[in-house]
């Protein structure tokens, strides 16, 4: 059974790039453009890992991460926060809300699948 990754990004093109990169690497990928639809996906299907963009309309990626990590039902799902603003301070903030990983944008299509695999492996 393929691992299933949820990609949360409100930019359609970025979303498709991450989706393509991961599906070519053999993952099942589902997408969401905001927090509400992300929560709906998690509710209706098994999700093994979340790739989380920070700037989302409404509830942002960090708030959503905090919500997932505060819920006993979802706190086991590894969350990789992906953001264009990748300073130490941003990383500290992401880890503070419970993110498992932090990756600066742009993602490199050649190394990102390995990063995802590493977090999937360390979560099991």
């Amino acid at each position: 059974v393929n691992k299933r990754v949820l990609v949360v990004d409100d930019n359609e093109i970025n979303q498709r790039l991450v989706e393509s990169t991961l599906s070519f690497a053999g993952y099942d990928v589902v997408c969401a453009a905001d927090a509400a639809s992300a929560l709906q996906r998690i509710d209706e299907t098994r999700i093994d890992l979340v790739v989380m963009d920070v700037s989302l309309p409404g509830m942002d990626g960090l708030q959503l991460t905090q919500k997932l990590k505060g819920d006993a039902q979802t706190r086991h799902i590894p969350v990789i926060v992906v953001t264009a603003s990748a300073t130490r301070e941003d990383e500290r903030r992401a880890l503070a809300v419970g993110a498992d990983g932090f990756v600066g944008k742009p993602i490199d299509t050649r190394s990102f699948p390995q990063i995802v695999r590493r977090y999937l492996e360390s979560s099991t």
Binding site: I13, L17, S20, T21, F24, T87, P106, I107, T109, R110
Partner: protein
């Protein structure tokens, strides 16, 4: 641009389907141009941030040799393409430096990628750190590349100057790297100079203050 690079890489890797040799060459040209454009935009953004007084430095203590090693491994793929050896002599380096780590790495990255760019295949590039009497530390990047003519030395650190158009064409650069590097060095209280002989390679020497060096040695 990042999406352009990303999707081109996926295609170049043949993931959506097989590509023929000509398509592969075009894709590789698109990728090269896109990466060049990305570098240009990033350098321009940095320079305009500096011009607007919005470039904030966040100095902190960090392990100097480790940071240098990290940048050297970062440029290794560039060096590998030309079978260039990147050697380092770091035994005189202070254990700790107190600077903006990211900007320090950017300075070294710019100097190293420049050196690699202007060094012929199977040449060598050397990074060396010393501690001059005056305090702080100096870091030099030496190549055995094409060198710089004396009359060109003073244009070296100016924006949009590339010394030789014919050279530029074979060594794609933005013409901004050294100007930006100089500004980043000076913003951290340091200085940069170059020594060179045409045909005899070039050495870029950065001198940076090491306000924490004494403290780091005491503890």
């Amino acid at each position: 641009l990042n999406a352009i690079i990303g999707f081109c890489q996926l295609m170049e890797d043949g993931l959506p389907g097989p590509i023929n040799a000509l398509q592969a060459r075009y894709l590789s040209d698109v990728l090269k141009s896109a990466r060049h454009l990305l570098q240009l935009i990033n350098d321009l953004l940095d320079l305009s941030k500096i011009a607007a007084g919005k470039m904030e430095l966040r100095p902190q203590s960090f392990a100097l040799a480790e940071a240098i090693e990290e940048v050297c491994s970062g440029v290794q793929p560039l060096a590998d393409v030309k079978s260039i050896q990147v050697t380092r002599r770091l035994e005189n380096a202070p254990a700790q430096a107190y600077l903006d780590t990211g900007r320090f790495k950017q300075i070294l990255y710019n100097l190293l990628s420049n050196a690699i760019k202007f060094t012929p295949d199977r040449g060598s590039v050397a990074v060396e750190v010393d501690r001059p009497q005056a305090g702080g530390f100096s870091m030099s990047v030496r190549d055995n590349g094409i060198g710089i003519a004396p009359e060109n030395m003073r244009r070296l650190f100016k924006e949009f100057e590339q010394l030789d158009n014919s050279v530029t064409r074979s060594h794609q650069g933005t013409g901004l790297g050294l100007a930006l590097t100089r500004t980043l060095v000076e913003m951290q209280g340091g200085s940069i100079r170059a020594e060179s002989e045409p045909g005899g390679g070039s050495t870029f020497i950065v001198t940076l203050p090491g306000t924490q060096v004494a403290a780091a040695e005491v503890t």
